[in-house]
Amino acid sequence: MTTTPENIETVAAESDDRAVAVATRKQVRKEQRRLLFRSPSFIIGTIIIGFWVLSGLWPELLDRFDPKASVPGVSPRTPPGDGTWWGTDRLGRDVYSRVVHGARPILIAAPAATVIAAFFGTLLGLFTGYFRGWVDEIISRILEAILSIPAILLAIVIVFTFGATTPVIIGTIGFLFIPAIARTVRAATLAEAQLDYVTAAQMRGERSLFIIGREIFPNIVGVVIVEVTVRLGYAIFTLATLAFLGLSGGNATDPNWGLDVAQNYQQVVAEVWWPTVFPALAIGTLVIGVNLMADSIDEALKS
């Protein structure tokens, strides 16, 4: 093969130019990470989530009293400050310690449900988006039907029918979140399948599984990550609401944020606000933390 002098020069100059202008892939990733770690949303989100993860892992490290027993020497409904940080509830239990211990159930169930939904939703979305056809039509109809009823309603019905145990609750939320993830992944897959690199793979006789798994999937991983983080926020939302409705998966005396709000909010009119406000804030901050993190990941991947 012969090469002409101009061509060599062209290529060399072209590449030098690009090398200066465009960073390598590693640098791009590094830059993305740098952007992420410097984003205020990400930092705040990490601190909030970090605190709750710590509470979930080692509540004994942070608590001050037994969350299930009344604090000795302190009467029920004592406001924050007098011997307890966040006051005591109607049974004299320490609100702070209950909130710390309440992190664990939600931090186990929400990620577990999200993982189930992410796994099946991604698979379903990839396959329906790539193959399309009548199977896709049918599955899309079923997903649409599930989406047409608010997830929380279906969750109430299913959990009631199957029994309010932690595995049932996790399985139910996992199942109910499949359609939303599948829909997002399907749309992304559809867009990818239009691109010529997929046609090129078909032209070299690649098997469909290879095209879906190795060619398309790496290009939609970002979409999946963002969608899954957003779903994690909604899983917390749904779990907390179920617990608020009494479907906590544990005993009525176990520390649980949603349940504690439910058991105490009626005393707010009697100005006993602390047993309601602190668990409510716990749920709120956890959701906000996850949302901030999802948003900053989204921003970093877009840049």
């Binding site: 989406l147 029918t161 029994g163 709000v261 909010y265 707010v268 606000w273 409510a280 709120g284």
Partner: protein, 320 residues
């Protein structure tokens, strides 16, 4: 347009059919005896039998399904199980009316505020105002309504007399009084939905602002407000309409937490009570109502979109 509506309606009927199947299947595939779980371990045999019957579990799955389809087509959802003699329809319609009041009032507040928020953020893109709107919206969205509702109770209802701790006004209250009672629930909806709607409006408005036809309009010598009014809005509000359409079902049936905290007799709470008391006929009626609302809302949204955007008309009538 006719073809589009027919096609769209057919799709809705199919979806409704799938929901009917789902509702029938759930108690049938539950492990163990769902009737016993619902009735409670200590229930009397009579009570258990009654629950089993209300669930339809004494019949075959096919019979259950055909019964349900007949009920739906004859618009006769039967009688409530816990309140014999009261038709499901009368209970559903009362709750539906209450939910409608709440939703309409909430939308009247949420839509203008959130849409204007999104437009302002898009127009003032990358300024502090934009960042505040976007970050606030991100942080507050997907907060459970009962959490926001509980915090409003503590922060507003208790210290300020004007705000009410319950949303259900006393019988015979005037319209304005009703609004006053509904104020905190509506604020709660605003908090939860503001970011969601504002962000969607912002994104589509930015797309519209950056598009070539907006450039054409500016180059033609139109002022910024004319460009927004005549060219940007109609394009940028399409996704907002779609989102509001899909969220209406949730607003009607999903606000269980909010309705409990403000003691408001809406659809969500009715369904929750039905589940709690094992009133299966009432539960079916409630869930079906919510599904039908979702269907009508998305249909309406699609029609509005088709009216706003001629290309959507084309693609929807030919099938996606």
């Amino acid at each position: 347009m006719k073809r589009f509506i027919i096609r769209r309606l057919l799709l809705s009927v199919v979806t409704l059919g799938i929901i009917l199947i789902l509702i029938t299947l759930i108690p049938n595939i539950a492990p163990g005896d769902p009737a016993r779980k619902i009735a409670g371990g200590t229930a009397s045999p009579e009570r258990l039998a009654a629950v089993t019957e209300s669930l339809g579990l004494d019949k075959s799955v096919i019979e259950q399904l055909t019964d349900l389809v007949t009920d739906v087509f004859t618009l006769d959802l039967g009688e409530s199980f816990t309140r014999p003699g009261t038709s499901v329809w009368s209970l559903v319609s009362t709750s539906l009316f209450n939910s409608t009041k709440l939703v309409v009032f909430a939308l009247l507040l949420v839509l203008p505020v959130a849409i204007i928020g999104g437009l302002v953020a898009a127009y003032r893109r990358d300024t502090w105002l934009d960042r505040v709107i976007v970050n606030l919206g991100v942080a507050l969205s997907s907060l459970p309504e009962f959490v926001v509702g509980a915090l409003f109770l503590v922060l507003l209802a208790v210290p300020i007399d004007f705000f009410r701790v319950v949303a259900d006004p006393p019988a015979g209250a005037s319209f304005l009084t009703e609004l006053q009672y509904l104020l905190l629930p509506v604020f709660t909806v605003l908090t939860v939905y503001f970011g969601y709607i504002a962000r969607i409006t912002r994104a589509s408005t930015i797309t519209a602002i950056e598009s070539d036809y907006t450039r054409t309009a500016f180059m033609r010598g139109l002022s910024t407000s004319e460009v927004f009014r005549k060219h940007v809005l109609r394009n940028s509000l399409v996704p907002t309409v779609a989102v509001v359409g899909t969220q209406l079902g949730y607003l009607f049936g999903g606000m269980v937490g909010l309705e409990l905290i403000y003691n408001y007799p809406g659809l969500g709470r009715m369904i929750f009570d039905a589940v709690d008391s094992a009133d299966y006929p009432l539960l079916r009626g409630g869930v079906l109502t919510v599904a039908i609302i979702y269907m009508l809302a998305t249909l309406a949204a699609d029609l509005i979109i088709a009216w706003m955007n001629p290309r959507a008309r084309l693609s929807l009538s030919e099938g996606s």
